[in-house]
């Protein structure tokens, strides 16, 4: 019988839930592993899970500096979508979407992936053309997308200002019905439990302080809990990539760490059913199952590791909220927080072997990392197990920047704060 099910829940309810096992063990590190994954966030844990589940590599340790899932997987706006423009992105995020659709079953853990759709509001004819171009690219790439008229939008999302008198009138919207939201923490916990049950050691409060070398090959790590050797060392530390890679002597990368704020309102009865984005600025919002409106906007726009933003962005985001939903002015902001984003130079990630022998690198997620978690872990695991990328992550090399083979969804060039 599955460890988690309605039946097991009932059974445990009868004895006060005394028999549940920990979701993951708290093992001490072994002296060596086949694979060490640095970073106990969504991507690291997913990588460990797929290494064990898909490639039979279970002698794996995930090393987490703090508490599991303490990075962006635990502080994002939970949006899952694959509404991209460029073929490389569509292929990768569509793969991710397919993994999402069965994730709760695969993990025997309800990650609450809810395909409530994402609606991008367009506010000018030229923006409409851009969105339609993107929607058509999605459809031709095998994804789903629909174009909605202002009338359809008004019916689907009550409260949106579709009046012509709006400062930025809504001329239409791009809907991806299969997109939606998931319970972000549950994704980390589900992957952690899945990996743990397959023999992976998840080691929290274990900070990597250096790399072990065997000639020019990376052969393990020094940590606050001692030396750990490994045949392969994979790095998936998002905003901390710069810090960790410096320990390996990689001083410069095509990445800047920026702070992104996220916001949640007080809990309300159902107000909005889909994820909605405001095209006249930069705003994305949805409503959680608990009832809070979860939303965010632009990054603050300067290098930061502080997990803490500033007031101008708060004001910008709120003004866009009430511009899109004039009724929300009376609703109250409950909490805000900040995450550190590894902003790459073309806005697309890096999932690759190297840059040093024995090392594997996964980074550059900007603020699209959450929805990518399954495909990122899946393809990174493939890359680690086979020492070569899968088709879906083959384009996401580290040398593409120097070679000019860029994947620039926003067309902003080498300006991370604009991606």
């Amino acid at each position: 019988m599955a460890e988690y099910s309605a039946f097991s829940l009932l059974k445990n309810a009868l004895n006060g839930h005394r028999d549940w096992k920990p979701a993951w063990r708290k093992p001490d590190p072994k002296p060596s592993y086949d694979v060490i994954i640095i970073g106990g966030g969504g991507h690291g844990l997913a990588t460990a899970y797929y290494l064990a589940a898909e490639h039979g590599v279970s002698n794996v340790a995930v090393l987490e500096k703090g508490w599991l899932g303490s990075g962006n997987v635990g502080r994002n706006t939970t949006i899952v979508r694959s509404n991209y423009l460029l073929p490389e992105s569509i292929r990768f995020y569509e793969h991710s979407m397919k993994l999402w659709e069965d994730l709760s079953h695969d993990l025997n853990y309800n990650v609450m992936f809810s395909q409530r759709g994402i609606l991008n509001l367009a506010h000018s004819p030229s923006q409409a053309d851009d969105y339609i171009r993107r929607g058509n690219a999605m459809r031709l790439g095998g994804g789903d997308a629909e174009w909605l008229s202002p009338e359809q939008i008004a019916r689907k999302v009550p409260g949106v200002d579709v009046s012509g008198s709006a400062r930025f009138p809504v001329v239409g919207g791009l809907l991806q019905p299969r997109a939606g939201t998931a319970r972000h923490d549950a994704v980390a916990w589900g992957y952690a439990r899945g990996a743990d049950r397959r023999g992976v050691d998840i080691i929290e409060n274990c900070e990597v302080t250096g790399f072990l070398r065997d000639g020019d090959r990376i052969s393990g790590v020094q940590t606050t809990r001692g030396e750990i050797r490994a045949g392969k060392v994979a790095v998936a530390v998002a905003g901390s990539t710069g810090r960790v890679m410096k320990l390996a002597g990689i001083d410069r990368l095509p990445i800047e760490s920026h702070v992104l704020q996220a916001f949640v309102s007080e809990s309300l009865k159902p107000f909005v059913d889909t994820v909605v984005t405001f095209g006249a600025g930069h705003l994305y919002m949805s409503q959680s199952d608990k009832g809070g409106l979860v939303f965010g906007g632009d990054i603050d726009g300067y290098n930061s590791y502080a997990q803490r933003g500033n007031l101008p962005v708060v004001e910008e985001v709120m003004s866009e909220m009430v511009a899109m939903f004039p009724a929300l002015a009376r609703v109250r902001l409950l909490r805000s927080w900040g995450g550190v984003m590894d902003m790459s130079m073309d806005g697309s990630p890096i999932i690759t072997t190297g840059p040093l022998p024995g090392m594997y690198l996964n980074c550059g997620w900007c603020y699209g990392g959450f929805k990518a978690t399954p495909a990122s872990g899946w393809s990174f695991a493939w890359t680690i197990a086979r020492d070569e990328p899968h088709d879906i992550n083959a384009p996401y090399t580290l040398d593409r920047f120097h070679r000019g083979i860029l994947i620039d969804e926003k067309g902003q060039g080498a300006t991370p704060r604009l991606h």
Partner: protein
């Protein structure tokens, strides 16, 4: 009204009765009442239903930390959900509703959830609802089905969809010293800083200043503390360098000592004052901040601790002292520290019967004993409340002996009471300090987290730093005020405080448990129904880190942000792990300290977000029937439609007029940058791909700019007005970007170049006049210069006058016709525009809009932002002829990288619709016919129009292979709009490829 009112005490005004409604019933209270105090006075005990189990809930606190008594305020149709009754000041006509219950607060169907309570353990939803692996409910469908019901059961208040029309305000304030909190320490700090002549802002979240002085019952300086506070406040209010902000909570502590506060200006009024905002968003930049935010009392976790009538001890005291309301007639006290004895004595003096004082400790201070004697009622030391009874309100408690770890045993004594006042010790309100700093420090004696070391410029005082007595608070406040002011001494003398000697140290007891454990639910987070058992379950399942605890159980995630639940929850987890409380860690507090209306934060940009940009001729366009369209921040004429005309008919008519005779279009939105200085030409040679140093004076040249990475940035014409003076034009969309790009290069990379850049986009009005008769129109309109082919050749520049206004004319063409751009001072824009139209009358000169402009440029194959989308190179657009081989320029070193020179890139072509159907912007191009999806896209359409010149639907596209495909047949694929059709790929130079017309 019930007999809960006390004859004469507190801040309420008994001469001003106030009528209001709660759940449709009329009640009356007094001015100064909160909804909570007024309802308590009316004998109401049931205020709301809890989040998960829909259990009946009353009032737990008297302030901003209230987790239970949340209501929805209605103003006409407008709903404002989740307002704590303890914060809501009543006014005549106030209409309120309880929340999260159906059909009524008294009878709530949702209460059946309590039957399922054993199932609804922490995180139960992660373990189920996965649904079947196959069948119609596979994938996410089953979960989404369950979720539909869960979402409707969850949530608190209901927000409506009616636009909020209330005004919101914003204020930027600067001060030397900001004092947050106006209790005894805050008042003395403010006084000390103000006496030193500093600019002081004192903020208080309550309507009245004074904090604990308003209810402590102590005497300060020989006066009742409330009177002392009132006098201190009056003195401060009289000082010109002091600003008092009441009903204001400082909620965010940001970098650079920038603090954000919300002032509730109108919420307490029946009708808002004219001109006054509902809320005001304060951004306060303070030299030094003095944090005197006080402390929150903690409840003790015990079975049945959520029954209406269970209340914090200080809250009960506040209701009596501040609002003249007895929360019960027969009140039991349950505490682990001395402070509750204050409450006991006060409530007793106010007329309540003290049923008993139950203290977990075996010994207490003499001060406490004296207070206990004053209070009366049995003093039960070494005892604890093990349970409560009553249905919708508490009617009694059962008391048992308790050990030092909080385990009760032995015979239970039942005591009848209609109110239980509880104190579990005090937690300093360190939220703002924590936002701006490191992790807080645990104090073993006070059993509380004290503020962390400051990373920003603040000083703390009073209960906020753990001060145990009012005397200590006064001292600390005074010193903090002086330090903040950089002053030595204050004129104000330290007032003497008369208060009983009490022991400030609580017993380290946070939860009361029966050994058997089967004694009913004990709530830690009241609002979200997180029980002590949930915390222990989280521990069993390995969610031990405090962050995991919070996320797994939702402890502390409610609207009160865990003000009453964080520390008890942490203590229970620490006990389960067998470690000390500080080792279990704390979560970092995040802004806001308490909820803030979105409208206030959006104040001033409400519904606007961004400014409007209007050209000098804007009004003329509108008056003459132009349909305006947004272009970035600009508003531009799309068409000047005639009645009954379709969009297409209108722009075709306008474009035809240009090709046949002459038309005019407003091009004032083009970016214009004055490039001046000895090195101006050298600078342009560096930033443009082609040479400008060779450009003769009074000539213009088309230029191309790349980004540093070698991709296209922008194009435009630049005019040489003098040896060292150029006027650069950019596309409308890229104006700002180009200016910043150039300034950065000049300021950061080439400071040795002596060049000045000035944005003059708004200084010049621009009119493009084009068509075979354009020159004839100018000949009539322009004075002071000839405009014939010799005087004004292609790309030539002349200066003259139109209608008496000085103008600068450049002969250049975007439309492919004989065309000129006429620039004049923005102030003359409309005048010159009208003068040109008048001169053009004989030739039926028509104004034309964006659609016609686009049509003309598409026919010519000119590129704009639609093609230059940040991903294309000059080669992609067949503009490589513009890339100078003779000189380096920005991007020249990067533009030849393999990815940018690759053969399979998408490149510019023209397309012609073969089935006579319109083409769709945003459609893709595919090779295979038919409509089945998906198929490989070989490119996409960037611009479309009906071409009057060709009498066909045409477009520009970026297609892989580019030129190589000329003459090929392909198909458009537009699945979104279900449009598919055959096209021929052709050269993008549709019309007059050799340019004879514009050179004519």
């Amino acid at each position: 009204m019930s007999g809960r009112r006390i004859a004469d005490s507190g801040r309420i005004d008994r001469d001003r009765p106030v009528d209001f409604t709660f759940d449709g019933r009329n009640y009356s209270g007094f001015a100064g009442d909160t909804l909570a105090s007024a309802l308590l006075a009316n004998g109401v005990s049931l205020f709301g239903r809890s989040f998960k189990y829909h259990r009946p809930r009353g009032v737990l606190t008297a302030g901003i930390d209230e987790p239970n008594a949340l209501v929805t305020v209605l103003r006409g149709a407008k709903r404002e959900p989740n307002i704590p009754a303890t914060q809501l000041e009543i006014y005549n006509g106030l209409v309120t509703e309880s929340q999260n219950r159906f059909p009524s607060l008294g009878f709530d169907i949702g209460a059946v959830n309590q039957l399922g309570a054993p199932l609804f353990s922490a995180g139960f939803y992660y373990k189920t609802f996965m649904g079947p692996v196959i069948g119609p409910l596979k994938g996410t469908r089953f979960w989404m089905l369950c979720e539909w019901f869960i979402r409707r059961a969850a949530g608190l208040g209901r927000a409506d969809y009616e636009p909020d029309t209330s005004p919101y305000g914003r204020m930027n304030a600067f001060c030397d010293v900001l004092i947050v909190g106006s209790g005894p320490s805050g008042l003395t700090a403010a006084r000390a800083a103000a006496d030193a002549g500093k600019r002081v802002i004192l903020s208080e979240l309550d309507p009245v200043t004074g904090g604990s002085a308003n209810w402590s019952g102590e005497t300060i300086g020989g006066k009742p503390s409330a009177d002392w506070a009132a006098e201190e406040t009056a003195a401060l209010a009289a000082m010109p360098n002091v600003r008092l902000l009441t009903r204001t909570h400082v909620w965010g502590y940001y970098d650079g000592n920038t603090l954000a506060a919300l002032e509730r200006v109108g919420d307490h009024l029946s009708a808002p004052q004219p001109g006054a905002p509902r809320h005001r968003h304060w951004v306060i930049r303070a030299g030094t901040v003095v944090l005197t935010t006080g402390a929150f009392e903690r409840p003790i976790v015990f079975p049945g601790n959520d029954r209406p009538g269970v209340m914090l001890a200080a809250a009960a005291q506040r209701y009596a002292a501040e609002f003249g309301v007895l929360p019960g007639r027969r009140i039991a006290i349950f505490t682990n520290n001395d402070s509750a004895y204050h409450a006991a004595a006060h409530l007793s003096a106010a007329g309540a019967e003290i049923a008993a004082i139950i203290d977990t400790r075996l010994t207490i201070s003499n001060g406490a004993r004296e207070l206990a004697q004053k209070a009366g009622g049995e003093l039960m030391l070494g005892h604890a409340v093990g349970g409560t009874s009553g249905s919708r309100a508490i009617s009694g408690i059962s008391v048992r002996q308790v050990d030092a770890r909080g385990t009760v045993s032995g015979e239970a004594t039942s005591i009848s009471a209609d109110c239980l006042a509880v104190s579990g010790g005090w937690s300093p309100a360190i939220h703002l300090a924590s936002q701006a700093g490191h992790a807080p420090k645990w104090d073993e004696d006070l059993q509380a987290f004290l503020p962390p070391n400051a990373t920003q410029n603040w000083i703390g005082a009073g209960a906020f730093v753990g001060a145990a007595t009012t005397a200590e608070a006064l001292r600390g406040g005074r010193n903090a005020g002086l330090k903040a002011a950089g002053a030595m001494a204050s004129r104000a003398q330290q007032a003497k405080v008369d208060a009983p000697e009490l022991d400030p140290h609580p017993a380290p007891i946070f939860e009361i448990r029966a050994t058997d454990g089967k004694s009913g639910k004990a709530f830690v987070d009241h609002q979200l129904d997180v029980t002590a058992e949930d915390v222990r379950l989280a521990h069993r399942e390995g969610f031990m880190s405090v962050e995991h605890l919070k996320r797994y159980t939702t402890l502390g995630m409610a609207t009160d942000q865990g003000k009453t639940s964080n520390v008890p929850g942490l203590a229970i987890m620490a006990a389960a792990r067998g470690i000390a409380i500080p080792d279990a860690g704390t979560t970092r507090f995040r802004p806001p300290f308490a909820p803030v209306s979105l409208g206030a934060l959006a104040a001033e940009r409400f519904g606007e977000v961004k400014p409007d940009r209007l050209t000098p001729m804007h009004d003329w366009h509108v008056e003459h029937g132009a349909i305006m369209m947004p272009a970035g921040l600009w508003h531009r004429p799309q068409i000047y439609g005639l009645s009954g005309e379709t969009l297409e008919q209108a722009y075709v008519r306008e474009a035809k007029a240009v090709r046949q005779s002459v038309g005019m279009v407003d091009v004032s939105t083009l970016g214009k940058i004055a490039v001046q200085g000895p090195d101006a030409a050298e600078f342009l040679d560096r930033v443009y791909t082609n040479k400008f140093s060779t450009l003769p004076v009074n000539k213009a040249r088309y230029g191309l700019m790349l980004r540093e990475d070698g991709l296209l940035l922008d194009d435009g014409t630049t005019w040489r007005l003098g040896e060292t003076e150029f006027l650069m034009t950019t596309t409308t969309a890229a104006a700002g970007k180009v200016m910043q790009h150039l300034e950065c290069l000049l300021d950061v990379r080439w400071p040795d170049l002596n060049v000045a850049l000035t944005s003059v986009s708004d200084e010049w009005a621009g009119t493009a006049i084009s068509g075979p008769n354009a020159r004839k129109v100018l000949e009539t309109a322009v004075k002071g210069t000839a405009v014939d082919n010799e005087s004004l050749p292609f790309m030539g520049i002349v200066r003259g006058e139109i209608g008496g206004a000085p103008v600068m004319i450049c002969r250049l063409s975007f439309s492919g016709e004989l065309a000129y751009e006429v620039y004049c001072g923005a102030g003359h824009g409309t005048h010159v525009w009208e003068a040109l139209l008048a001169a053009g009358e004989p030739f039926n000169t028509l104004p034309y809009g964006m659609e016609a402009l686009g049509t003309l440029r598409i026919e010519k194959g000119h590129v704009t932002g639609a093609e230059i989308d940040g991903r294309v190179t000059a080669r992609d657009l067949y503009l490589d002829w513009m890339l100078s081989k003779k000189k380096p320029f920005v991007g020249s070193a990067m533009m030849d990288r393999e990815g940018l020179a690759a053969e399979d890139r998408i490149r510019l072509v023209g397309i012609v619709s073969l089935d006579g159907q319109p083409l769709g912007g945003g459609a893709h191009i595919v090779e295979s016919s038919g409509r089945e999806e998906p198929r490989k896209s070989i490119g996409h359409i960037t611009a479309v129009c009906y071409s009057p010149a060709l009498s066909k639907y045409i477009g520009l596209a970026l297609v892989n292979g580019g030129k190589a495909r000329h003459g090929q047949r392909a198909f458009t694929a537009d699945p979104l709009r279900k449009r598919y059709g055959p096209v021929e790929i052709v050269s993008h130079h549709f019309f007059d490829p050799d340019g004879s017309r514009m050179h004519g």
